[in-house]
Chain length 549, copies 2
Amino acid sequence: MANTRLLPSADNAYQYPLLIKQLLLSGPRYNPDQKIVYADRSEYTYRDLVDRIHRLAHALTDAGVKPGDTVAVLDWDTPRYLECFFAIPMIGAILHTVNVRLAPEQIVYTMNHAEDDLVIVHDDFAPLIEKVSGDLETVTGYIQVTDSEQAVSTGLKNVKGEYEQLLSQSDNCFDFPDFDENSIATTFYTTGTTGNPKGVFFSHRQLVLHTMTAAATMGCSDEMPLLRSSSVYMPVTPMFHVHAWGVPYAATMMGIKQVYPGRYEPELLVDLLKTHKVTFSHCVPTIMQMMLATESIKTADLSNWHVLIGGSALTEGLCKAGAKLGIRMYTGYGMSETAPLLAATYLKPEDLELPLEQQTDKRIKTGIAVPMVDLRIIDGNGESLPHDGKAQGEVVARSPWLTQGYLKNPEKSEELWDGGWLHTGDVASIEPDNTLVIRDRIKDVIKTGGEWLSSLDLENLISQHPAVAAAAVVGVPDEKWGERPHAVVVLQQGQTATLEDIQTHLQQFVDRGDINKWAIPSAVDFTEDIPKTSVGKVNKKLIRDQIQQ
Amino acid sequence: MANTRLLPSADNAYQYPLLIKQLLLSGPRYNPDQKIVYADRSEYTYRDLVDRIHRLAHALTDAGVKPGDTVAVLDWDTPRYLECFFAIPMIGAILHTVNVRLAPEQIVYTMNHAEDDLVIVHDDFAPLIEKVSGDLETVTGYIQVTDSEQAVSTGLKNVKGEYEQLLSQSDNCFDFPDFDENSIATTFYTTGTTGNPKGVFFSHRQLVLHTMTAAATMGCSDEMPLLRSSSVYMPVTPMFHVHAWGVPYAATMMGIKQVYPGRYEPELLVDLLKTHKVTFSHCVPTIMQMMLATESIKTADLSNWHVLIGGSALTEGLCKAGAKLGIRMYTGYGMSETAPLLAATYLKPEDLELPLEQQTDKRIKTGIAVPMVDLRIIDGNGESLPHDGKAQGEVVARSPWLTQGYLKNPEKSEELWDGGWLHTGDVASIEPDNTLVIRDRIKDVIKTGGEWLSSLDLENLISQHPAVAAAAVVGVPDEKWGERPHAVVVLQQGQTATLEDIQTHLQQFVDRGDINKWAIPSAVDFTEDIPKTSVGKVNKKLIRDQIQQ
């Protein structure tokens, strides 16, 4: 460690620790009368938000929550959830945003693993929690949440009261303490195809730094007015998932109008877009497709709607379909482990000179790493690879807001941080202009002939054969090559094709220099169906298992 | 301290300390070919900037600079200075930005007090340094800087070489180390009307946080495209003064075009505005007035030039004169001790609906405190005062980027941080919409009849009397009232007025409720001239001394 000269007082250096309560200073100061809307139900001002956060802090404390305790929330995307984003960490407790889409037994697993003390639960999820409450090992009480006039009666024991009632009974002035900025503020669980969900966790310092960078980045392109005084924000990725990508914190810090949709019903979402002239959302491709398929979107003016797409790749088709309606889509890249922001589309003035529909190329790439993120692609030996658009390697990152590991799972934490860099498990190339292009998941990449071959690239090429409806490619062990690609192909109805047809088809791409000759699969299985996981992704693990049986 | 749950690994929490080197990650990644311009002399790209920072680090190390050492810079505002902003702190050393406008003996004082080891000095300042070099107690060497083909010969001893030559001889790959984020990165001296200059200092962590907030804030208004991909930045406050308000760091982080003017010659500045279509500058009122007075500004299209005004108040007259040319001015508020950003003009969409010339009211107020800044006005007992636009109190602040104190001056440091808040020495009111309005310096405010009376407000009212050319008001001790206002007035040529005339004139403002009756001075001295300090400010200390003799 270099022998630098330190600030004279080490205590003093932390006299202003980075805490989530500071994110609440500026928004209400900029725009005290700015609105926060709950779908077509109700709305209130930033002034009210502050008032309610103070009341919630009292209600939580009165319910016995102490610093270091964990409070679980099961709710739709509402202003109430935003209040929990602030009040729970601000009293020194940990917010566990429960993934309500998990199977009941997985919900129980995560709530026991996170050692939840108090549970804030919406009526709609109460029956589920009632059923499993006997299995919740650490929970000592519940706060009910309702969208009806009155909370429904419940079989839960130790109910501390109904959320709105508790708030109305509480004092609106809480003295939020200072504490160590490395205190854990939030936790939630990632879901893989195998094994139990793994818990990630973020400190106050990490969330403050993520928020500041998000705010700096989300306004940096000329046409990207994501967080400016006239912006209107509506999240369309759930608040339980990576704090709705951290944007509610940034939106609140900047004092912009926020619209919370509650449930994700496509017609309702489109109505809210129209009514509130929403300018900024974030979304996964599936939900965007559902919104584009509604009848009512045809009569909406969406020429000022900017949407950050993440979760899975933004395809050219979706981007163009949106552009036809005037929707400006951008790609965001990150994951639960990274809070999540790592990279996003960066448009230069010259990119914007093209008509919107011709900007697709730039918008569907993964983008450029944002400020404060050190991002590399590395080969199997941990060596950095060049930015030539060709070399493919695993994406690794360092930045001030990455999870330290998985909760109570030192083994997986060590894997995640192998060599002092967070391993994303994604394989990418980086173009000479520093644009990141994600090619595959590392566990699906095919290591053949000393090179990495993207299974996704190969699937795309095979799919271009006129007889092919769908294709999946996996690597199978091979003594000479390390691995060899093995394809599973579903043919178009009434079409036929042979192994040789597929190989001949691929040979043209070898001739053009797009792929190497060892990328041509030596085996193709023609099947009726490609196996999928419960969330609709191709189940490559199962395909590999079936081939190797 | 609340008993929160901390991140499991304390070391790990700092595995990514906030360091200035991280500010250099994103700009060159966004725009490697973006230009950095040195007046009408030369230009290079962000790629070159990175290359040169690596070379400079080697040159400094070769010249014997170690982590913890201090490197002084005396240069004009140039890309070289920007290189020093990065390379010196990035090797763990401290950058001392020497105020070249100080008297030679004060320059010597600051260089000895900061314990400068190496000095980077431009030809233009070399004669000065040569004269005093015998008095520099800690300096062990010099690097010469020149804008000519060759460095001028010098009488300085231990010259390590000429800047460009050293860079060209050095390797362009330096392995910048990680170290504690609380390491001091920069230092410089404030100048008061009395006593020696006082040194403030900032850590890597503080400058990173200041930069992130500046970047988030400077794009948040719809019409304030200060740091976006198409922005062009030219500083017009010196780089030795609070790192040119910290903007070069933010501009570099965002990868925007930068134009460094060298010397501040009004015609040159206007030429650069025109040539490079500058969109963003910061400036003190005096320099802006000089630029507005040039002939060439009349033919410039300045409708996209946005200027943050600080240092002293933006007057209505100057703001309107600028607006006539299409210039958009904003007020920034801060000081050397605060890195400097505390507050800035915040425009809402409805403010922008008015024609530019009618937006003056909003633009000349001090603005709203920026994110992460906790700012209050307090009375003499340290109690917070209401935001009613009337109550006046001292502005105190907390934020993650305030100097911990004055270098080697514990007494003044304690005064600065009395009660755990940084005392700005400014008196202000805060309007119900949270807009800060600076009224006076606390040492000039008149404490009379239990209230605080702004000497500036009173001077403005007296100046509205038709016979008055200029007025200054100070408080003089009074047994009954605590203090009473005492005015010094210069009359317009050929005009006369008496104490009673002035008092009658002020009575109308008492009748209207603008001021209290005890604000009317009981004494007025009519003089030829109002004493000024060396930097052109009214010398109230001298006026008080003269009255009390």
